[in-house]
Amino acid sequence: MKLEKKTMRDVFIERIYERMKKDENIFFLCADFGSPKLDLIREEFKDRFINVGIAEQNLINIATGLALEGYTVYAYAIAPFLTMRAYEQIRVNLSLHAQLKEININLIGVGAGLSYDVSGPTHHCIEDISIMRTLPNIEVFSPSDWVLAQKFVDYSIKVKKPKYIRFDGKPLVQIHERIDDLELERGFKEIRNGKNVCLVSTGYMTHKALKVAEMLAEENITVGVIDIFLIKPFKEDIFFESIKQYRNLITLEEGFINKGGLDSLISGILENKKSKIILKRMGFGDSYTFEIGSRDYLHKLNNLDEDTIIENIKQILKGDI
């Protein structure tokens, strides 16, 4: 398979653009945040594209009003500001509203995890999974590649609920050759089957998990890799069937650990199933990173680099942990 590098946002927006040509019921709002493909929408749909300015709270509220009148709405902004500046607007107008009325609002946050590495901690988005999955009535989508992002467009129109879609900010190679409807709704995919240890990851960290698995394969160590992309709703039973063969799981996320993120999702399932599988959580500890550097450098500072992951796996295999 030829591995093409693309940004999730451009692939997603290009597909939205195609849908907007046929479907007059789609509005696209942004908080003064662009992308090359967004220029197509800006040019062609002047009545259904609105830049609300750097005003994420108003972005959510305007989106709500449009959705209450039946429009399918996309609200596009930088992920940490979209989710955290406007969190209460999301809680009141999306989460609460959606329990009483049908509203289709799709929050598209760009810059998941450490995408904006050198921009510092205001732009690092390492809380969004935990804070968004705690809200009732909102789905959370965390793709690892542009194939998933592209596939999610049709789903986002079909499923008339509020959704939070977290995109990486960097162009990334594709992981999935193709994803069909059933796979998308299943919410996760086992990319590599392994023995004893399985890496469970989301977003960018799935790229890292695959790299680690390949490095270990050269040493004849096979670890499983499961990419989780639909974090909420989550198909717990099907997921458990996929992991029950393993003795150890390692969750990998560009997010705080022990605070309701991916690790908490998985540990909750293991607890519900009374499973004896041992879980190792890898992500960020209870602090921000001010030091400037590339994503790899920041991962190293936070013990989330390939070497540390491999070391953890080897220790598990030795029975040291």
């Binding site: 300015g53 107008n93 009483l100």
Partner: protein
């Protein structure tokens, strides 16, 4: 409308307002958690909107596409709308005796679970932005329905309201009419002692709004202004600053800067109702 008819109509609205004020006090008697002072300042506004038929509505079909949208952004002060909605058939009048009681859908702050309410209320500063979205949607669909908002003055301290004010002016949302219940009292003090909002008229005008000022307890004037602003097409969102008195009709509330948090005792309510005219 003929002068004589107009007088009768105003008298009809005044009587309705008196009746709603009494019923609101009776609800408060049974549900002391309700914000009585906030709910009394907007009685005439609600009465004019509904009984004055400023709003197009159909209580038997609350999702009727042809209804004007009325967003009650100051949700905590909307208990006085309950008796109106019950009277107009949005829900049974017997529900009024269950406000804030177990299992009731009528709480201290109404949400869209209450027939007749469009949005989630209670957290201040959301209503205007949501109304802007509705307004845009209706304009985009070439619909003639209008979007009304009841805004509290204390809400103007929320930054999100000013994001929406800027947006509405820039996008020329002239199907949007905001009524500001300008009672000038917040929870802990008079607004002027917290952060003075004046000059409000000039502020809104600077944001490209059309602004009018009215006595918010004069139903005749409210009717005149609301009807004009509803029909006027001038490419501007409209603000009607309704000068009101917090706790209107209850002398000790009218003069207390802490009226927001005052609850009235049952025997006091008897006296107040007996004295209302």
């Amino acid at each position: 409308m003929l002068v004589e008819d107009s007088k009768k109509f105003s008298e009809f609205l005044r009587k309705k307002a008196l009746c709603v004020r009494k019923e609101t006090l009776n609800i408060h008697r049974m549900a002391s958690e309700t914000r009585i002072a906030s709910s009394l300042s907007c009685v005439e506004i609600f009465v004019t909107m509904y009984y004055g038929k400023i709003l197009n509505f159909d209580s038997s079909n609350i999702s009727w596409v042809g209804r004007d949208r009325f967003i009650i952004s100051k949700g905590h002060g909307a208990i006085s709308l309950y008796p109106i909605l019950a009277d107009l058939g949005y829900f049974d009048k017997s529900e009024l005796s269950r406000v804030c009681k177990e299992g009731s859908f009528l709480g201290g702050i109404p949400d869209s679970i209450v027939p007749g309410f469009e949005t989630i209320n209670g957290s201040l500063g959301h209503g205007l932005g949501v109304a802007c979205g509705i307004s845009l949607a209706l304009r985009n669909k070439n619909r003639d329905e209008k979007v009304f908002v009841l805004l509290g003055d204390g809400e103007l301290y929320e930054g999100s309201v000013w994001e929406a004010i800027m947006f509405a002016g820039e996008h020329k949302l002239d199907n949007l009419v905001v009524v500001l219940d300008y009672n000038k009292v917040c929870m802990l003090d008079y607004c002027k002692n917290i952060l003075d909002m004046e000059p409000l008229e000039e502020k809104f005008k600077a944001f490209k709004w059309d602004v009018k000022i009215v006595d918010g307890h004069d139903v005749e004037q409210l009717y005149k202004f609301l009807l004009t602003m509803k029909e006027e097409k001038n490419n501007k969102p409209k603000l009607l600053i309704a000068n009101t008195v917090k706790g209107k009709g209850v002398p000790r509330l009218e003069t207390d800067s802490l009226s927001h948090v005052i609850s009235l005792a049952s025997n006091e309510i008897d006296e107040i109702i007996a004295g209302l005219q």
